[in-house]
Symmetry: C2
Subunit: 230 residues, 2 copies
């Protein structure tokens, strides 16, 4: 057996995205977990601008990440995080409070926090020129504020959401990090210092920095505005 | 040991909700899973109209369901479904494609389908009198249509999302079922016959009927408009 076999894990990511999305694409979560757990991985790059039709067979919505781990195909970053945590034996045993807490916060990130912030990004960025966007924004901001206030109360003086650092923190930190500067929505985070410190703590981890660097690396090379790269 | 010990599982649900929400509240998912797995459960009822302040310690957003299983507390219906499936030994082994498929579809339901339909319910019901709601509706309907089309393509001629019937189907079926008649949004389902049959198949299961009946049972008794129930 070779000492350095080819990685069994392959993450599908975008070869290039516009600048506002750089460092925000969701394959960051899969990369971050691999870095935390010490799993080497290879990357399959696809075009975000022209999603290949065959890719919808792997990922029903044409989004990234998609993870192939040997014979196992997984889509949805939450499922990928759980798979990687199980592979790393980083989850407490089934039926324990410790595991229940991680599962609760993992789903909370994806179902109770991200949808709010995703809609806010739509209003503030993607659809900002639509007639309805500025009309919707005040009540949505208020809903986001209330939700983040509840999250702050739940986090209190805890270092991480569920005991030790876990995949739930990878999910929540990448979601909080998506509060966009362009729409002024990062004020939401500034007005919640507990969440702001939590995010700083998470993104100070060396594994996060490596994951971020790895996501950004191919973008310069595949910039469609740069036909003849230097 | 008694032959019928008190159930270890307690589900927190609402004692009453307005008619449009009756049969739609998310504790249905936890009840349905318990019925499928043959787990007896008791119920703790709280007021939806005046959420008790102490309840936020159990469930950060004040929502239902919250599940207590012996020493284990879990919130978020996705986490509760996973916990119950693990308790029932109804999940394939970690690291298998079969498990990966269930995890992928479970998170897909909560992160890639529900947020679209939840926003649609806001536009069509909860916020329908806001100035922005009718302006937002057409593009949102189009986004929902595209997402459901992709889901239909992924489901194709499969009976269930991930091999055998699983908690991913409990999640997806309850989410599809939330397409509301009041807003005319159930046309979305009618125009996707594959999804419509899938939902019929899921809700024809006896465990679903028992769960639904159990959710509805307390509502008549706690109707706030009926001070002197007959």
């Amino acid at each position: 057996m070779p000492e350095n076999p080819a990685p069994s894990i392959e993450i599908t990511a975008f070869e290039w995205v516009p600048s506002f999305a750089q460092g925000q694409v969701r394959d960051l979560r899969a990369r971050w977990a691999c870095e935390e757990f010490g799993f080497p991985y290879k990357v399959r790059l696809i075009s975000a601008l022209e999603r290949p039709e065959w890719y919808y067979d792997d990922q029903p919505w044409g989004q990234v990440p998609f993870l192939r781990d040997g014979d196992v195909d997984i889509f949805e970053s939450g499922a990928i995080l759980l798979h990687l945590a199980e592979k790393a034996h980083a989850l407490p045993a089934p039926g324990t409070q410790e595991r229940g807490r991680i599962l609760s916060w993992l789903f909370a990130a994806f179902n109770s926090i991200e949808p709010f912030l995703f809609e806010l990004a739509a209003v503030s960025i993607f659809s900002r020129n639509e007639e309805w966007a500025p009309l919707r924004r005040p009540s949505l901001l208020e809903a986001c504020r209330l939700r983040l206030q509840r999250l702050e109360t739940a986090l209190r003086d805890k270092e991480w959401l569920a005991g030790e650092f876990s995949v739930a923190d990878i999910a929540m930190a990448t979601i909080l990090r998506s509060l966009v500067k362009a729409g002024g929505d990062d004020d939401l985070l500034k007005s919640h210092p507990t969440l702001s410190s939590y995010l700083d703590r998470a993104t100070s981890r060396p594994a996060f920095a490596r994951a971020l660097e790895a996501q950004l690396a191919p973008f310069a090379q595949h910039d469609p505005r740069q036909k003849d790269p230097v």
